[in-house]
Amino acid sequence: MEQMNKAYFQKLARQLMFDVSDEEAEQLQEEFEILNKQIALLEKIDTEHTEPMIYPFEAETTFLREDQITQTISREDALKNAKAVMAGHVHVPKVVK
């Protein structure tokens, strides 16, 4: 496990392609220190014979949706949140060659 220091959060931010200021990175470091302490408490619990859970309720379901058109949103709404739109398409910077 890497040290959760300022440089670590700055590296993560770069990988996820957003900016993080020195101040924010420090704040993240402080918050994660608290979180880590809490997680350390959980680690003290004996889980030797406990199966891991994936879902809060382990009962199986049976429902499948019928293949009927129910909900479409307008093109205008679909594109509303896009920063840039070109010819009815969402326009983003190209990241492939």
């Binding site: 093109r75 679909a78 910077p93």
Partner: protein
């Protein structure tokens, strides 16, 4: 050194449903961009996926036809990656519990039948379609969330020919099942081929490359053949193969590098928390499995056993579902099965090519063709005349009407024909003499003369027989 080629194929097929895998938005090819989407497809916060029953049904059909074992407990997982074709930041797929496991596809090779084993068939959602241009990338989310099945083979293929045969067979099976449009050129069936070489006799896999962008079966075989030669050349010069994704460039007829694969990408798979496991009713699965449509191999077998067709003719018909369905309709109206097969394979195909019409838009009425075949069989028209009648049938005309209008009836009246035969014999004493001197060719000449005198309406078989009969008397 002797190399062995090792090929495994992954195929993605869009399922023919009305709505998406996890949302009630319509699935539509070629619709106006971003007009067939809703909040679930766009990954808006707070939306919940809901599994499409029809997609599961079609996946069960495909898995059954491919001899897979069905898992009645449907589970989905998240495949996490960050790319603009994926609005949620993850794709919902079945990494840990595919709906079908094992199974096989049987192909024909030069050495006979061969089973290509399958690893799995699983359900997932398609991504958005992207168009890259100079100014950036344009995204159309209509395709996002379209139900897909991914069919993963084992690395059992050994040549471009086998790879193409596998894709073709799989396409045919899925087409007969009606679970997918399987149009490689439109992308409703997409094929990724993994290729590596190894020393003959070795059991260790060599470094593989993956080829994408194969939009036809012919290109599968071309791309593999090219890639095998490329890898062989590198290995023979002592080089090493770089693990990478390549695409087939049609213009260059070559594979070109798209991107290097630096180690295995970690997709951080985990079970999809928004879809709890779904138990499928065993009687529902059994019902789907009991009502599968006729598959290509079964149909081929039926054509041979019921209609007496040979392996080749049965194969040609079955390879084209629309053509085979037309043939079945013709056979519902006539028992001239072999004649019907010949006319469907040769004349109909030629006529469709000439008209530049696809078999699914075939204008020929199967009843009309059956009636025409009956006329040939009964000697009402000759095969030569039938070709003219057939042209009119392709224009939508009734063969009875064509024969009547063109005064085409074949001369099959024994007395009338006998009179004509004797006239021809009287006019050709030299041929009679030739015949008596053992020149059998004379018969052919005389038949030709009768044909000419009857303006092509004489029944050739009867004419032949009458000439021989009358020659014997002279």
């Amino acid at each position: 050194m002797n190399y062995e080629t090792v090929i495994g194929i992954e195929i993605h097929c869009e399922l023919k449903t009305k709505t998406k895998m996890f949302s009630g938005a319509p699935v539509s090819f070629g619709a106006v961009a971003n007009s067939c989407v809703n909040e679930i497809d766009l990954g808006h916060p707070g939306t919940m996926p809901c599994v499409n029953k029809e997609a599961v049904r079609l996946a069960i059909m495909a898995a059954t036809a491919l001899h897979c074992e069905i898992d009645p407990l449907v589970k989905f997982d998240r495949k996490n990656y960050y790319y603009s074709d994926l609005p949620k930041g993850f794709q919902i797929t079945q990494q840990f519990h595919p709906i079908g496991s094992g199974g096989y596809v049987e192909i024909e090779t030069d050495e006979g039948k061969k089973q290509i084993r399958l690893n799995r068939i699983h359900m997932e959602e398609d991504t958005a379609k992207q168009f890259h241009n100079e100014e950036g990338t344009l995204i159309d989310f209509n395709r996002a969330g379209t139900p897909l099945v991914e069919i993963v083979s084992e690395a059992d293929m050994r040549s471009g020919k086998e790879a193409a045969a596998y894709v073709e067979k799989l396409r045919s099976i899925l087409n007969y099942l009606g679970v997918s449009d399987v149009k490689m050129e439109e992308g409703s069936m997409r094929c990724d081929v993994n290729i590596s070489l190894r020393e003959a006799g070795s059991t260790v896999f060599g470094v593989k490359t993956e080829i994408k962008n194969l939009n036809s079966i012919a290109n599968v075989s071309k791309a593999v053949d090219y890639e095998v030669e490329r890898q062989k050349e590198i290995l023979e010069q002592g080089g090493t193969i770089i693990q990478e994704t390549r695409r087939f460039d049609e213009a260059q007829k070559a594979t070109v590098s798209m991107r290097k694969k630096e180690g295995n990408v970690d997709y951080k798979y985990f079970p999809e928390p928004n879809i709890p496991p779904i138990r499928l009713a065993s009687d529902w699965i059994a019902d789907i499995q009991a009502h599968l449509p006729e598959l290509p191999d079964q149909r081929k077998e039926r054509y041979q056993s019921e209609y007496g067709l040979n392996d080749y003719d049965a194969g040609v018909l079955v390879n084209n579902r629309e053509l085979a369905e037309f043939y079945d309709e013709v056979c519902a109206h006539t028992s001239e099965y072999k004649l019907a097969a010949n006319w469907t394979i040769v004349e109909l195909t030629a006529a469709l090519n000439k008209l530049n019409v696809k078999p699914e838009n075939n204008p020929c009425n199967p009843l009309h063709l059956a009636e025409m075949l009956q006329m040939i069989k009964e000697g009402t028209i000759s095969s030569k005349q039938a070709k003219i009648v057939f042209e009119e049938i392709m224009q939508g005309k009734d063969p009875k009407q064509v024969v009547a209008e063109k005064g085409m009836k074949q001369m099959s009246d024994g007395n009338e024909l006998l009179k004509l035969v004797n006239e021809v014999l009287d006019n050709n004493p030299k041929s009679i003499e030739d015949f008596k001197n053992g020149k059998d060719r004379a018969v052919g000449f005389l038949v030709g003369q009768v044909m000419k005198a009857s303006k092509g309406t004489a029944n050739p078989a009867m004419t032949n027989q009458l000439i021989k009969q009358e020659l014997a008397k002279r």
